[in-house]
């Protein structure tokens, strides 16, 4: 435990100022302990005790009100731009892509690109894909519905999440296994073994470059009514995206859109299996599907924390983080904060304070309307066809910190 003594001005009476020492006990969380869990009693106790904790790797903001305010604070930058360098990767294809990615850009460099990408991902444009998302969900479900069982990740979540990206980008859906493999391999770059796995990562990224460059050249020659054409034609005040910027953005879309959606679909299924009465409510009221997505992302997000780095010395109330410090935002913990959510039980009809499962501020997830809509359709189609869904065999899960979700989730169900 770390104890900070601060002196607070207190009780101004009779022109006399009393200064009372007030002790704030800042909790400590060992987040590199393999047994560390976001769902643990230790984390809940820390949230009750104070709004942030110290960790062995920076600070962790725990309460919803503080996550909401500080996640958007411009004194904190996205911070993962230096990830490859911190892990011994200083040049090469991956380094060059990563350090120019929207995800890690800041200031005007970020705003210019974000501005040109945003409209293609607006609700209006993404809603137009709903019939295709729905047909895809129905096709995948029809593949196992009569058998009464499925392996949720392999039979549904992974092909669904990947084929949605194919639909959006115009990559033939039949090539989804290649896209899934590429996205998974590039994902290895987020692990501490990045340097060892660099040749494999760069080969996959090179393959993805090939897809992206092909799509861009094709839409430049043959524009159509789709997302890639809208990106190619994006033009603001005479400025447009260069071919490299377009390629980098398409690669980020595929890299960032696949495993996050696959994992969140699995977590949504887990949450709904624990709340069968809510599942029946969804089946009876499919119009609640979009709210159901918000509710499972609040309570059980795949992105259990979001990380920022202090650009300058960062002071907020009793937190004094020197420039360069890491500040984590624990989204799963803040999404279950009883101060913001007095009745935290899953309720797909509830109107809630916003969750931060898509991050927040200028780096707010670009593809969130895609994720919101495709997951709502997946839940709607599943609840229409299936009831009494239960785990059927050995399930396997990623650790529950970082980006979590099921690796394997065998299910049995009754056909409705």
């Amino acid at each position: 435990m770390i104890h900070i003594i601060i002196r607070m001005r207190h009780n101004r009476t009779n022109d006399e100022v009393h200064t009372m020492p007030t002790e704030i006990e800042v909790p400590y969380l060992d987040i590199s302990d393999p047994a560390f869990s976001m769902h643990s009693e230790a984390v809940r106790r820390a949230r009750e005790q104070h709004w942030y904790a110290k960790t062995n790797y920076g600070y962790a903001v725990l309460r919803h009100q503080y996550v909401s305010t500080l996640l958007k604070d411009p004194r904190l930058s996205q911070g993962s731009g230096k990830w490859p360098d911190h892990n011994g990767v200083h040049d090469g294809l991956f380094h060059s892509w990563w350090t120019k990615c929207l995800l890690v850009l800041e200031g005007e460099d970020h705003h210019r690109i974000r501005r040109m990408l945003n409209p293609a991902f607006s609700l209006r444009h993404i809603e137009a894909y709903i019939p295709q998302f729905e047909a895809l969900a129905e096709e995948l479900v029809a593949g196992f519905l009569d058998s009464g069982e499925c392996e949720y990740v392999n039979d549904f979540a992974e092909p669904y999440a990947t084929r949605v990206l194919c639909i959006l980008t115009g990559i033939p859906e039949s090539e989804w296994p290649t896209i899934a493999r590429i996205a998974g391999t590039i994902g290895l770059a987020l692990g501490i073994t990045i340097k060892d796995e660099l040749p494999e990562i760069e080969e996959a990224l090179g393959e993805l470059y090939g897809y992206a460059e092909g799509l861009i050249a094709d839409r430049q020659a043959n524009p159509r009514d789709d997302l890639v054409t809208r990106l190619v034609e994006a033009n603001r005040d005479g400025d447009s995206l260069s071919d490299d910027e377009l390629r980098n953005a398409l690669c980020l879309l595929i890299f960032g859109g696949m495993d996050t959606t696959r994992n969140q679909l699995g977590l949504g299924m887990q949450t709904m299996m624990h709340n069968p009465e809510q599942w029946e409510l969804l089946a009876a009221h499919p119009e609640l599907a979009r709210n159901a997505v918000e509710e499972v992302m609040r309570a059980n997000p795949t992105t259990t924390w979001v990380t920022r780095e202090a650009v300058v010395d960062f002071d907020y109330e009793d937190l004094h983080a020197p420039a360069g410090s890491t500040v984590h935002f624990f989204t799963q913990v803040s999404g279950n904060d009883p101060e913001a959510y007095p009745n935290p039980e899953i309720d797909i009809t509830a109107e809630r304070a916003p969750h931060y499962g898509f991050g927040g501020g200028m780096h707010h997830c670009l593809g969130h309307f895609v994720a919101r809509l495709d997951m709502a359709i997946a839940m709607r189609v599943f609840s229409k066809h299936m009831t009494n869904i239960r785990v059927n065999g050995q399930d396997e899960w990623l650790p529950d910190s970082g980006n979590t979700g099921p690796v394997r989730l065998p299910l049995a169900f009754d056909k409705r």
Partner: protein
């Protein structure tokens, strides 16, 4: 044109400030401030801001 922001929905992410920086800005506290009445020449930018708002909190009232 007249603009209104549903403060109950707005979560101050600031995406609108990229689309229409002369209309929307975040103040020192990170709270959205905006011009409620702007020249019609800014309509395309404001429509884009409303379109891309993650919370869908921006409305053009005429």
């Amino acid at each position: 044109m007249q603009i209104s922001v549903d403060r109950a929905k707005c979560d101050n992410h600031g995406q609108c400030t990229f689309s229409a920086p002369t209309v929307f800005r975040l103040d020192d506290q990170g709270i959205l401030q905006y011009e409620a009445s702007v020249d019609d020449s800014l309509r395309a930018d404001v429509e884009e801001a409303a379109d891309v708002c993650p919370m869908q909190a921006i409305f053009i009232t005429d």
